[in-house]
Amino acid sequence: MSELLTQTAIVATVAAALRLAMPLLLAGLGEMYGQRSGVLNLGVEGVMLLGGFFAYWTALELENAWLGLLVGLIVGLIMGFLNGVISVTLKANQGISGIGVFLFGLGLSDLLFQKIVGTPRLIDPLAKVEIPLLKSIPVIGEAVFTQRSIVYLAFLLVPLSMWILNKTTFGLNIRAVGENPAAADSLGVSVARTRYMTLMIGGLLAGGAGAGIVLTTGTFQQNFTAGRGFIAIALVYFGAWRPIGVMLGALLFGFVEALVTQLKTLELIPVSSQDLANMAPALITVLALVVVSQRFKPPAALTRPFSRGG
């Protein structure tokens, strides 16, 4: 095991952990807004795939990763709005409509990729940004402060989300609508508008998460999210519906994934058991759900569409 404790291995693992945590953090924070307002959005994976495809395609055609990110975010925002139509206006069953969004995103992203791009080509990823001074801290500096720009942005959203949820009127409205929509409504808070807003934030960030993956790996392949969108949803439960909790969850998953990769690279896990190691994130999620559901309760109105007087 000593190979794992060399400085290079540690730096590589920690750096990879942060990079792998980024999409989970973005999508998880986005999902958190929706759930705090009482809407379970199961379609995250589909939105990530669509955002990722359009980000990839834009970056490929215009040779600009930032424009790719922008387009990924916009696609996510549009999907968030449509999700509002489905979940808020049409009051669809949230346990199922999201699977429809997932299938739609899975199919459409694959279809467009095959039809428009065809063979996979590499794109220039978002640039790495080295933070001056901080990057010269031994070991940690190299691992933490030489990431691609979107990784820093994802982590900056954590304090921002804490502020929005806990210190602003908008955040108060979100929490009120998620816990007691009827009371919020009687105080003049528009339940529908608040939920549309949170779903659009969720879509925006899910699109960004998908874009983040393709713009850091530089490639697109069918179903490249491989269940990360679903894990992000579970992270919100895991993180007890709080930004810090979602971040810790994302870090844990990023770390587990990075560690498994590192162990494979160093050939510390036999090839035959690699598939078993790959199931660690999903298994941890199930166990975490058991523990968390004993201690924390979801927002009271989660999955309940709101009708006045109903």
């Binding site: 049409l90 699977i99 199919g107 269940g227 894990i231 078993l276 199931m279 199930v286």
Partner: protein, 374 residues
């Protein structure tokens, strides 16, 4: 209920899913146009490819089989107010159990092999359904999340087995396709007609009828539906709510598991094979079964024609691709739209129902409504 409201509710039940499919196909037509393909030509090729010949009908029936089993399973769960999104994992688990059983048994075991396949498939799926059922009933874990996570776990177990213990001993390289050897011939599903049509579709239809009997003619089924309609009232009425939830997911998983067994032992290669992803083995039947169940108005018997239609869509997708060069992924996207349209129009249905007849909200016409909580 008068016969008038009964028939109008029947009509509405069917009208909305049909409208949803037509709507999805209309969106699909726009997508085809946008991709520079002629939608009429494309859809015509699809129809022909799915239903245009005896061979096409046989392929459609075979494709419909896992959709029907998963769809009926989802219907049972849904009737008990439980959402089973774990079809993929349960299919895989059923395939693992049945393949494992056949690999363990000597080839000479003769006529017991096919029943073993079926029972092991049911058992494998039942286990993979009972776990999220117990987690929901006794630990309050949302079954939506746990079933999705168990899909991911099952896929990795499958990969592990097909690259390790279950691997074809005759394959030379490590990099070979993850698959078993050609499994024992005694376990091949009996052929009904010609060379391809095996008894899988028949087994699935029998299961759908049994599920109908379970839900509407047995005490256990009555309890499941009662729990689905009103868990609190059921508890007061002395129904073991928790056990009913576990039971619903166990039945639901068992049917998906059977689908997995039939996929392996009814396949042309008679191997358990994947490309390293869950969908590589299941063909995403675990998700497409949701579409089938919704289109079948969450009724086991209506799910039979529904699965045939969606099986046809999947088979026809091949012809669509050949005719207008649009990838089959279009069908995945359209299935997604059908799900979205069906669940989005639930509200409309209840609206219509209320406007027409206030009594209609009671009874089972709203049991598939949107009161489901995870």
């Amino acid at each position: 209920m008068t016969s008038r409201t009964l028939s109008s509710s029947r009509l509405q039940r069917l009208l909305i899913p049909v409208t949803a499919v037509v709507g999805a196909l209309a969106v699909g037509a726009i997508m085809l146009l946008a991709l520079g393909a002629n939608p009429i030509e494309g859809y015509w090729a699809m129809l022909e490819g799915a239903f245009g010949s005896t061979n096409a009908l046989i392929e459609t029936a075979l494709k419909a089989t896992p959709l029907l089993l998963v769809g009926v399973g989802i219907t049972i769960a849904f009737r008990a107010n439980v959402i089973n999104i774990g079809g993929e994992g349960q299919i895989i688990s059923g395939a693992i159990f049945s393949t494992g059983a056949i690999l363990l048994l000597p080839d000479t075991s003769g006529f017991i092999l096919v029943p073993v396949v079926i029972l092991a498939g049911l058992l494998g799926g039942a286990v993979w359904g009972a776990i999220p059922g117990a987690l929901k009933a006794y630990f309050g874990v949302s079954e939506i999340l746990s079933t999705i996570m168990l899909n991911l776990v099952a896929a990795q177990v499958m990969n592990f087995l097909l690259r390790g213990p279950f691997r074809d001993p005759n394959a030379n390289e490590l990099g070979a396709i993850p698959q078993t050897e050609r499994l024992s011939e005694g376990a091949d599903l009996p052929i009904l007609v010609g060379s391809r049509l095996h008894s899988g579709p028949l087994i699935a239809v029998v299961m759908a009828v049994l599920a109908y009997i379970l839900l509407w003619r047995t005490t256990a089924g009555y309890r499941l539906r009662a729990v689905g309609l009103n868990p609190d009232a059921s508890r007061y009425g002395g129904i073991p709510v928790k056990r009913s939830i576990v039971l619903a997911l166990t039945f639901s998983g068992a049917l998906a598991g059977l689908a997995g067994a039939l996929l392996v032992f009814g396949s042309e290669s008679h191997r358990f094979v994947t490309d390293g992803s869950a969908g590589g083995f299941t063909g995403s039947a675990g998700f497409n079964g949701i579409v089938t169940a919704l289109f079948g108005a969450l009724h086991p018997l209506w799910t039979i024609p529904s699965s045939f239609l969606f099986g046809g869509l999947l088979v026809g997708a091949n012809s669509l691709q050949r005719a207008v060069q649009v990838p089959q992924a279009l069908i995945v996207a359209l299935n997604g739209l059908v799900v979205i349209f069906v669940v989005s129009s639930d509200w409309l249905r209840q609206r219509l129902g209320l406007a027409e007849d206030a009594h209609q909200a009671e009874g089972d016409s709203n049991s598939d409504g949107d009161e489901t909580q995870p």
